[in-house]
C-alpha cells in the first residue's frame, strides 16, 4: 500500500494515490483499523482524516477532562493516558502541578464538578499543595457558581 500521511478528505486521498473514491475509502478503512487515522466531521460536515505513519495514541487524561468541563480550552503539552480511574480531584492536583497561568485558569472550572472533597484534600496533602488548592477554590468561588467547600477543609 502506498504511504500517505497528513490531513486529507476521501477525494484528496483518491487523487494523491491515483485510485477511485471507493478504493480510497478502503485504504482509509484499513489504516483506521491499524489505529493510524483520526476522523473529524461527519453528517453535514465533510469528514477530514488525519493520517499518520504510527499508531495514534488515544488520550483520556487531564487535558481531555479539562477541555470537557472548562470554558477555557487547553492545547495539550503532552499526551496523557490513564489506565484505571482518573477523578476530577486528581485532575485539579495535576492542573496545579502543571502550574502555568492558563492551565490554572482552566482548572478552576473543575471545582464545579467536585464530588469528593475528602479525596481532594487527601491528594493535596500528599502532594503538598493544600494552599494552592484553597487559593484556586477561593478564585473559583469568586468568579463562577461552584459548590461550597465543607468548613473542616478550609485553611
Amino acid at each position: 500500500m502506498n504511504v500517505i500521511t497528513g490531513t486529507h478528505t476521501i477525494e484528496s486521498v483518491a487523487k494523491e494515490l491515483g485510485i477511485k473514491k471507493t478504493s480510497a475509502i478502503n485504504v482509509i478503512s484499513k489504516l483506521k483499523k491499524e489505529g493510524k487515522v483520526t476522523v473529524s466531521g461527519g453528517g453535514r460536515q465533510k469528514r477530514i482524516y488525519k493520517i499518520s505513519t504510527t499508531q495514534q495514541m488515544k488520550t483520556n487524561g487531564f487535558y481531555d477532562l479539562v477541555n470537557k468541563y472548562s470554558k477555557e480550552k487547553l492545547v495539550p503539552s503532552f499526551k496523557h493516558v490513564i489506565h484505571g480511574r482518573y477523578t476530577i480531584e486528581q485532575a485539579i492536583i495535576d492542573g496545579i502541578k502543571i502550574g502555568d497561568t492558563r492551565t490554572m485558569e482552566a482548572t478552576t472550572y473543575l471545582f464545579k464538578k467536585i464530588t469528593n472533597w475528602k479525596r481532594l484534600f487527601n491528594l493535596a496533602k500528599k502532594n503538598k499543595v493544600e494552599t494552592q488548592v484553597y487559593n484556586l477554590y477561593s478564585k473559583a468561588r469568586k468568579t463562577m457558581k461552584c459548590r461550597r467547600m465543607p468548613k473542616r477543609y478550609e485553611l
Binding site: M57, G61, F78, H80, H83, G84
Partner: protein, 215 residues
C-alpha cells in the same frame, strides 16, 4: 519478548502491587512502543530518580515472581564497570532493566523532562506514572550505545517519522558532554551511518565538530 498490549497489562498489574505512588521514565524500546514505532521489545527499560521509588518498584515485581540476574553478557564489558549500570530482573521471556538517576552516565535533566512526549498513569492500588521520553532523546540514547539493534531502532524511527529535530539531539549531546566524554563522537559516528539512508545537512556535523573543539 513482550508486545504493546502485554506491556500495558503488566504495568497495570504492577500498579496493583505497589506500596506507594511512584514516577519513572520509559526509555528505549519501551518508549518506542508507547509511540507506536514498534510492537515488541526484548526488555522494559525504566529510569527512576530516587532509591525509594526504585525499591518500591522492585518490591512489587518481586512479588510477581521476577528475579534479579546479572547483566553480564547483555551489555558491553566496558559498561559493566560503570556505577550507573542497570539492575536487571527477569521472569521467563520478560525482562526489566532498571536504572537509577542516569543511564550509563546520561542524565535526565530538566530539558529532557520538559520534552517528554507522553505521560501514562497506571492507577491500581497506588499510582505508577510513566513518562515517555521524546523521540529526539530516544534517538540520542540509542545513538550512543553502539549496539547494532539500537541502530536498527533509530532507522525504524526515522523511516516512520520524518519530523525529527536534529538540532535538539545535538544540543542535548553538547549538554551531556560534561558528564559523558564520548557522547559527541558516538553521535557523530551514528549520524554518519544514518547519512547513507537519510538526508542530514552538513551544518549538523559542523555543529558537532565546533562543540567538540570547544571542549
Amino acid at each position: 519478548m513482550i508486545n504493546t498490549k502485554d506491556q500495558e497489562e503488566l504495568f497495570e498489574l504492577v500498579s496493583k502491587y505497589l506500596e506507594a505512588d511512584i514516577e519513572c521514565y520509559a526509555l528505549g524500546g519501551t518508549a518506542m512502543m508507547f509511540y507506536g514505532y514498534k510492537n515488541t521489545t526484548k526488555d522494559i527499560d525504566l529510569l527512576f530518580q530516587t532509591t525509594k521509588e526504585i525499591n518500591t518498584f522492585i518490591k512489587a515485581i518481586k512479588q510477581l515472581g521476577y528475579k534479579e540476574r546479572s547483566i553480564k553478557g547483555i551489555y558491553p564489558e566496558k559498561r559493566l564497570k560503570l556505577k550507573s549500570k542497570p539492575i536487571m530482573f527477569t521472569r521467563g521471556d520478560e525482562r526489566f532493566d532498571l536504572f537509577l538517576n542516569n543511564i550509563f552516565g546520561f542524565n535526565i535533566n530538566e530539558n529532557i523532562k520538559e520534552r517528554c512526549y507522553s505521560r501514562q498513569d497506571f492507577i491500581g492500588t497506588k499510582e505508577l506514572i510513566i513518562k515517555i521520553l521524546s523521540k529526539e532523546d530516544i534517538i540520542l540514547l540509542k545513538a550512543i550505545t553502539g549496539r547494532e539493534k539500537d541502530f536498527e531502532d533509530i532507522q525504524t524511527i526515522i523511516e516512520q517519522d520524518k519530523d525529527i529535530n536534529w538540532d535538539v539531539i545535538i544540543d542535548e549531546a553538547i549538554i551531556q558532554r560534561k558528564h559523558k566524554e564520548w557522547i559527541l563522537i558516538d553521535l557523530e559516528e551514528t549520524m554518519k551511518q544514518l547519512k547513507k539512508i537519510t538526508f542530514l545537512p552538513s551544518k549538523l556535523f559542523k555543529k558537532i565538530y565546533a562543540a567538540e573543539e570547544k571542549m
